[in-house]
């Protein structure tokens, strides 16, 4: 009886598993508290600043705003065209997701389930792309966009983002699909399912978690992207959020309180994404890096 209780305690509580003394515990908490302050202080300051009047800011850089100026947010939203830019970013992100999923699942399906001569050649050709930084391709992409008139086209931007997600996504999904038992699809083929049906009805549903991971990684990569977007989009109404934000800050460069409100707004979608999907994001980023 007592031994069961002790075992349970060890499993529930790592403190006993790893033996952390009282003194050590105080030091650990102090260190984590300092780090938390270092993380939160700039953000609190940003939020306080975004709620002040311009005059108040010059007198009082530190403190709480006297009366919160929510109008800063309304002005930043309007002047910074935040709604428009968030929509544009969403469009390119959705295109990225759709194209990444279609291309990566089909390639991974074939490479993981069929043996044919060029299988490994194609695999390495695709996966080697993980080592290619997007920077190395931007100048030719820019010239290509000029020639093919793909500039200011959010769908084209989504395609480019998706293309750069293919290597890592295939690398991850191919090994994920390999772990699905072969018997399942063999019985499906005996039942008269064609390759297409096997793919849609069996492999895709069983790869759901893997697909969620590659989607999360794709969203994180393209939502933040600056360099390609900056070169591909140059019209004020077709900007994504990062370059829209740069334009806003360049244009109103001394109205700090409104700019800070704009920065808070720009950070919100990411934070909402994090709040809704925390576990999945953390898991996706870790298994994506440390192939699990």
């Amino acid at each position: 009886m007592s031994s069961i209780a002790i075992n349970k305690k060890i499993n529930d509580n790592r403190v006993s598993l790893l033996k952390v003394g009282k003194k050590a515990r105080i030091v650990i908490y102090a260190f984590m508290a300092i780090c938390s302050i270092l993380v939160l202080l700039p953000l609190l300051w940003l939020i306080f600043t975004s709620l002040k009047t311009q005059a108040e800011l010059t007198q009082n850089i530190w403190g709480l705003p006297k009366s919160p100026q929510l109008s800063n947010y309304a002005l930043a939203w309007k002047k910074g065209r935040m709604g428009l830019y968030i929509t544009n970013s969403l469009i390119s992100t959705i295109v990225t997701i759709i194209i990444t999923v279609i291309t990566s699942t089909t390639i991974s399906f074939i490479l993981s389930r069929f043996t044919f001569k060029l299988n490994r050649t194609i695999y390495y050709l695709v996966v080697i792309g993980m080592m290619i930084p997007i920077h190395a391709a931007v100048i030719p992409l820019y010239i290509m966009a000029l020639n093919l008139k793909l500039q200011n086209n959010l769908v084209a931007l989504g395609f480019i983002y998706a293309a750069f997600r293919i290597p890592a996504s295939v690398f991850f999904l191919e090994s994920y699909m390999k772990s699905i038992p072969k018997e399942l699809e063999e019985s499906a083929i005996i039942d008269g399912c064609g390759i297409w049906k096997t793919f849609v009805n069996i492999i895709l549903p069983l790869s759901k978690d893997g697909i969620i991971t590659i989607v999360i990684l794709a969203v994180l990569a393209c939502w933040n992207e600056l360099l390609v977007a900056m070169l591909m989009l140059n019209q004020p109404f077709i900007k994504t959020l990062p370059i829209g934000l740069m334009g806003f800050i360049g244009e109103y460069n001394s109205e700090y309180t409104q700019l800070c409100a704009g920065l808070v707004i720009a950070c919100l979608p990411g934070l909402i994404f994090y709040a809704l999907l925390k576990e999945k994001i953390v898991k996706g980023m870790t298994v994506g890096a440390i192939k699990g």
Partner: protein, 291 residues
């Protein structure tokens, strides 16, 4: 026979869309970049073949070597801060003291913020007009040492590294933490019973057991630092006096501000070769599969 034919057709049909997108937007531009780097550009549409002239020009350009040096310092600086700090935080969270989830949530906020916004936030923090760095230094009696960090070419790169570390240490923390959570619990437990804990536990048990993760983090961190662009572009644009101009910024400035597409593509080829070379040699040194 019919079945095999169908299968081959199906394989091709499945592969074509994905490979087309990949070859068109990733592979072709890279090859194209190598070709373009041998041309001298008069305008965006008129170009003359010049062989290796651009390479000679770039390799004789002091600013190119400065950007190489800056990239290297940036890589080393962010690595030296982020890897140990990520390791420590990841380990402290792994201990799962009461309330650790709150800390975990907080530490992972910065990587979830938009990078461009983080650049401006830190630009403002350092700014002499509205930033909190100056009053902070005054509060602890160091006010007279304050100089606007990003305006001084001696300090700019260092403060850039701090901003980058603030932005992304949470990622290393998460990766280390995941690695520690995968360590076999029995070994940890046995070593505790044997009286191994504290620092000795970290050095003799934790580091060897999580070595795979450490390798991955080092490779990701070093190769990632070579690609750093967003934060630097937003905060200083490479200045003052090229003090923060890392390779990707040099490339951007050459191609799109000086309109010297030849030099820009040479820089792009250098970034490509360095990225590949660094990844492969790090993997080789650390005994991982090269691809």
């Amino acid at each position: 026979m019919d079945v095999i034919k169908n299968k081959r057709l199906a394989i091709i049909m499945f592969l074509i869309p994905g490979l087309l997108v990949y070859l068109l937007f990733v592979f072709y531009p890279i090859l194209q970049g190598v070709i373009l780097s041998t041309y001298r550009w008069k305008t965006v549409s008129v170009k003359v073949f010049t062989g290796f002239d651009n390479y000679i020009g770039v390799f004789q350009d002091n600013l190119f070597w400065k950007s190489m040096k800056n990239s290297f310092i940036f890589m080393l600086g962010t690595g030296l801060i982020q890897i140990p700090l990520g390791f420590i935080l990841g380990y402290l969270l792994y201990l799962q003291l009461r309330g650790y989830r709150y800390f975990q949530t907080i530490f992972f906020i910065p990587p979830m913020l938009m990078t461009v916004a983080v650049g401006y936030i830190w630009g403002y923090i350092y700014s002499p007009a509205i930033g909190i760095l100056k009053p902070l230094m005054q509060a602890v009696g160091l006010g007279k040492y304050y100089i606007p960090p990003l305006a001084d070419s001696r300090t700019a790169l260092f403060f850039m590294i701090l901003a980058q570390a603030w932005n992304s240490t949470g990622i290393q923390m998460m990766l280390f933490n995941a690695g520690f959570m995968n360590m076999p619990e029995e070994v940890i437990e046995m070593s505790t019973i044997d009286g191994v804990y504290g620092w000795r536990k970290i050095f003799y048990i934790v580091i060897p057991l999580s070595w795979e993760v450490t390798k991955t983090v080092i490779i990701l961190q070093l190769t990632g630092a070579l690609r750093a662009f967003d934060l630097i572009f937003v905060m200083t644009g490479g200045g003052p006096n090229h003090a923060t101009e890392v390779l990707p910024v040099y490339m951007f400035v050459q191609a799109f501000q000086n309109f010297n597409i030849g030099y820009g593509t040479v820089a792009a080829v250098v970034i490509f070769v360095l990225s590949m070379g660094l990844t492969m040699s790090l993997r080789k040194i650390m005994g991982q599969e090269i691809i």
